[in-house]
């Protein structure tokens, strides 16, 4: 293994500040004269507001202001925009209700923003918030999908009949119907993809800071993509031009998708700071995180897989109801559509696929992208169906999958659901996982477990995911309202050290290390000579941010392209310095050399000449500072095979995860230690979804799981030691050959876990169990099966 550059397991540069408590997060920032905000949130799931009386709050000690949605409307503040438009099957646009940062006359979920109290201290703001008297007139609440779709259901939005935001389709419905009609076997499954609460360790926070001297604004915020926030908030909500609006997202303590979106509090603080002409700071309490961070997943699905007599998949039909929550969050509409149904081909050659997704409004927190975003939902449907097909047809689940895999010589492979996979070797990846898991030894382990009274099962998931949504033009045709490129800016300083400015924000991923390795590898200098700057619109030219495992594939490629420009310009300078023809100069390991000679100039010497251009090519600009905007040609398609073994205690229903073995094709690996860390984190969240986590609303729309007392996050003791391996094929269309790894664990492992549990319970006749497979659910499934 190399000690530097691509492939080196370097310790993370950023960890020194993180593990010594020296990270600088939004809440660590304090501005002179700063006031503190506390948000008055709705305790009702659905109610009209007959009045807001802030008179008592205004009299409370330290209170500076109490502002409401009416004040925002008066100032002409717009609504939080949806970043992606989805069409009904008939081509009409989705129902897109207004989303003001603070409600005007109706609250639509517990936690909805009603007013903001601003005071000299945080405690005073909170104290006074309790004195704001809001006259709620309760309305019937729609607490979940079954209520939303019920006949005669109350409406969350008057303009959305049946509570439907859109009724969308993808694929060839007629061909799929025909395939199912004539198939030898049809396997059907009804399943739920459980709603999750993201729970980043750092709660969201925002500081609005208006500067009257030049009429400019700075927003410090916990964001995965500061430039996107500048665009959305500046253009759509507050009407501020980019040159007067700076967004800083400093160290951010985890996002997992939940910090992609433009949230109301960002706009409220920015707006209020001008109104009061002083900085205003807000930091969420943990209870607020539960009821105001966008949630994830929440689908109910009916799926049918058709197979011919030989076990070849011939058709797949999926009908999903997706819960969008009360409002359309930034990418909420795209997640259960283009990030979901496009994955239904999986690793397989299924020729006919049709997916219908009906998205519903409910009186719950908005639902949006959460680690995996659509792809875990798709993998769960598909891999549960494949497992059930193997059982129903009496086929080996390994052989059934292999018989249907897309073969290496079929790439590029056009799926029936829009995507074109560039490369993969699904048999190779699967074989690696089977070996890691000692699959062939399972029978003996099951027998041994039986002697201890335990039910042992094994489950498989073989999956494809799609990272780095692209290219922008295609995304635009599909409804994206933003570009999906990334920006890399490489500045070679006069003495040869380098600062890289990237639009890919890092909030735990380790970009400061991985990106430095890219630069070290290409430009031939040690990683400690490279500084990575991100998270500040005043420093980084532009960027689309970090989500969908895109940072390396898109952001890293942008840096690579900027380095190519550096090398091209450096070559001209070096040729001049060495009095050689440009075409004779080659660059390798940090040196420009005249081919076939010992004449050479180090990058540092060339940089010096570029900034002290005494002896310099005529007509060439001084400086060595290049920016690249990289728009990928396609998604990348990581793939993997995850194999899980469980033991179930039939007395209690407790599931013990005995083994999690994963072989993944994440493309070329830059830092194997960071890749392992990403795998482990993703697996922990996938295990959380499969076994532990469940967001529950009661029938009146109250959030029952509003704290860690009953929302179960995975802990170290809940996790086994993971076996991770790789079988790599390089991405064919980006210059690094990389694909992405951030979401693989949370996508691949949930169906493997549930398949393993169903396998363990198969002797009792259990065919399916919903997530999370809590002890009671498992115990009940056994009781019901035995009854």
């Amino acid at each position: 293994m190399p000690e530097t550059g691509i492939g080196a397991a370097l310790l993370r540069k950023e960890d020194k500040r993180f593990i010594t408590g020296k990270g600088k997060y939004v809440d660590d920032i304090n501005r002179p004269g700063q006031a503190y905000a506390y948000i008055v949130r709705s305790p009702e799931a659905h109610a009209s507001i007959a009045g807001i009386d802030a008179s008592e709050a205004l009299k409370a000690p330290g209170v500076v202001a109490v502002l409401t949605g009416a004040d925002m409307a008066e100032d002409g503040v717009g609504g939080l925009p949806a970043g992606w438009g989805i069409l009904f099957q008939d081509g009409s646009p989705m129902i897109e209700p207004a989303h003001p940062p603070m409600v005007v006359d109706r609250v639509r979920h517990v936690g909805d923003q009603v007013a903001v109290v601003i005071a000299e201290t945080k405690a005073q703001a909170k104290e006074a918030a309790g004195l704001v008297d809001v006259d709620y007139q309760p309305l019937p609440a729609i607490a979940g999908l079954s209520q939303a779709s019920a006949e005669g259901a109350a409406l969350v939005w008057d303009e959305a009949p049946g509570n439907i935001c859109y009724d969308w389709g993808l694929g060839d419905e007629a061909a799929t119907d025909a395939a199912l009609e004539g198939a030898a076997h049809v396997v059907t499954l009804d399943l739920v993809n459980n709603r999750l609460i993201p729970n980043a360790i750092e709660p969201r926070a925002a500081i609005g800071d208006y500067d009257a001297t030049d009429d400019s604004y700075t927003l410090y915020t916990t964001s995965q993509n500061p430039h996107v926030i500048r665009l959305l908030m500046g253009a759509f909500v507050l009407g501020l031009p980019e040159h007067k609006l700076r967004i800083v997202a400093p160290d951010v303590g985890g996002g997992f998708g939940s910090k992609i979106f433009h949230y109301a509090e960002e706009a409220i603080m920015t707006w209020a700071s001008k109104r009061l002409e002083r900085p205003v700071k807000w930091t969420a309490e943990r209870s607020e995180s539960f009821m105001s961070d966008a949630h994830g997943r929440d689908h109910i699905t009916h799926a049918e897989l058709a197979l011919d007599a030989d076990g070849k998949f011939v058709g797949l039909r999926v009908n999903t109801a997706a819960n969008l929550g009360a409002y359309i969050s930034t990418f909420g509409a795209a997640v259960p559509t283009w990030l979901y149904a496009t994955l239904f081909s999986g690793c397989y050659t299924t020729p006919a696929i049709f997916a219908n997704v009906k998205a519903y409004f409910t009186n719950t927190v908005p639902v949006d992208a959460y680690r995996g975003a659509g792809r875990p939902e798709a993998a769960f449907v598909l891999e549960r169906l494949v497992h059930k097909a193997a059982v129903q047809l009496g086929m080996d689940p390994v052989e059934l999958r292999k018989n249907n895999f897309i073969q290496p010589d079929q790439f590029p492979y056009q799926t029936p659901v829009a995507l074109e996979y560039d490369v993969g070797d699904y048999d190779g990846t699967f074989d690696a996982a089977l070996e890691l898991a000692d699959y062939s030894g399972f029978g003996a382990r099951r027998e041994e477990a039986a002697t201890r009274g335990k039910l042992r099962g094994i489950g498989i998931s073989t999956f494809v995911e799609a990272c780095g949504i692209a290219p922008s033009a295609v995304a635009g045709q599909l409804g994206a309202r933003a570009g999906l490129f990334e920006v890399g800016h490489v500045r070679v300083h006069p003495t040869g050290s380098i600062t890289v400015f990237t639009g890919s924000h890092s909030h735990g991923q380790g970009h400061e290390t991985t990106f430095a390795q890219l630069v070290s590898d290409r430009l031939g200098l040690p990683e400690d000579q490279v500084e990575i700057v991100h998270g500040d619109t005043a420093q980084v030219a532009f960027g689309m941010g970090t989500y969908g495992s895109r940072s390396l594939a898109v952001g890293g490629s942008a840096i690579y392209m900027a380095m190519e420009k550096i090398i091209a310009k450096g070559t001209i300078i070096a040729a001049h310095l060495m009095e050689a023809a440009v075409e004779d100069v080659v660059f390798d390991k940090g040196n420009f050399t005249v081919a076939g000679t010992d004449k050479t100039k180090a990058l540092g010497e060339v940089a010096f000449a570029a900034y002290v251009p005494h002896n310099y090519p005529e007509d060439l600009e001084p400086g060595l500072d290049e920016t690249a905007f990289y728009d990928p040609k396609n998604f990348t398609f990581p793939a993997g095979a995850h194999i899980v073994e469980v033991e179930i205690d039939p007395d209690t229903g407790v599931v013990d995860l005995c083994g999690v073995s994963c072989a993944d094709d994440v493309g070329r690996i830059i830092n194997p230690m960071i890749v392992d860390g990403q795998m482990h984190g993703g697996l922990a969240q996938g295990i959380g979804q499969a076994l532990l986590e469940s967001c529950i609303y009661d029938d009146s729309g109250q959030l029952i799981t509003g704290s860690y007392m009953n929302y179960t996050m995975p802990r170290a003791a809940d996790l086994p030691f993971f076996k991770t391996g790789h079988h790599i094929t390089n991405c064919t269309h980006n210059p690094l050959g990389v694909k992405g790894v951030g979401e693989v664990g949370s996508i691949g492992v949930p169906p493997a876990i549930i398949n393993a549990i169903v396998d363990a319970l198969s002797s009792a006749g259990v065919e399916h169990i919903d997530m999370p497979a809590t002890p009671e659910r498992v115990w009940r499934a056994l009781q019901d099966a035995q009854a």
């Binding site: 209870s287 209690t652 799981t705 929302y711 809940d718 809590t774 009671e776 009940r780």
Partner: protein, 264 residues
């Protein structure tokens, strides 16, 4: 959290004086329940009188076949005490299973007992072992002490000073923890003294209770097998999103068998 005054007196008498002298004040003995309630504004005492600086509430000693544990002893101290381990190892094990290390390092025996949380572990031990709660003014048998959800006969200014646990022939504790909070969904303590068997259940109901049918079965045949197929009625048990009453009733049977198996 509302503002409050904080006092940390050095004696029980001083603590009581402080409490009586301040309106709306509350004792705190570790704060592992009170502080979270205050953070959520579900409790807002004007003054908090901490009992953690009082020497007379500390100590573990053996007395005539009993173990007397000071109310101020933390769960960690009880779990790690050789005296407790040697006399009633199940009690040390129970203390070591409470919450997480942070909770065990701050939470105390007296605090847990006085709070009488229906899902706390200690009440099961006190009832099964036939313990006596000793306060500054009286002694109360455990069964009379736990009167239901957060209900005890303690007076406002009354301080638990210690708990006396008779040392049984054998005892065992088994619990099924809530995966999120680690409180008991069903916890069962079994204690045997000759032919006398007591089985106390925490977590499953609205307060600790004795499973008398189990006690009768075990009195005749002290073995896990004697409880095969036994369960308590689900009627009156807690039913919520964490666990249904039916599942809790089933778990009480399973935990009881495991507690018997754990008896030394």
């Amino acid at each position: 959290m509302e503002d409050f005054a904080f006092h940390r007196p050095g004696s029980v008498a001083e603590a009581q004086e402080t409490l009586r002298g301040t309106e709306d004040s509350k004792f705190m003995a570790g704060g592992q329940s009170l502080i979270p309630l205050m953070k959520l504004d579900m409790a807002a005492p004007g003054a908090v009188v901490s009992l953690t600086g009082i020497d007379e509430l500390r100590g573990i000693e053996q007395q005539d076949g009993s173990l007397v544990i000071g109310a101020g002893m933390t769960h960690s101290e009880v779990a790690e005490s050789d005296d407790v381990r040697n006399a009633i190892s199940a009690l040390a094990g129970l203390a070591g299973s409470i919450g997480d290390p942070q909770v065990r390092n701050r939470g105390t025996l007296g605090g847990s007992v006085a709070h009488a949380d229906p899902a706390a572990d200690y009440p099961a031990a006190l009832v099964a072992l036939g313990a006596t709660v000793i306060t500054d003014r009286r002694e109360i048998a455990a069964e009379d002490f736990f009167q239901g959800m957060f209900e005890t006969p303690l007076e406002t200014d009354e301080v638990i000073t210690s708990v006396r646990f008779p040392v049984p022939d054998s005892a065992g504790y088994s619990k099924f923890p809530n995966p999120a909070s680690k409180y008991a969904i069903a916890g069962v303590m079994v204690a045997r003294n000759g032919a006398d068997v007591k089985v106390a259940v925490t977590g499953a109901g609205t307060g600790v209770f004795r499973a008398t049918a189990f006690e009768e079965a075990l009195a005749g045949d002290f073995s896990a097998g004697a409880l095969d197929g036994a369960s308590v009625s689900a009627d009156g048990l807690v039913s919520d999103t964490d666990a249904s009453a039916e599942y809790r009733a089933h778990l009480v049977g399973v935990m009881a068998r495991r507690a018997v198996e754990a008896c030394g």
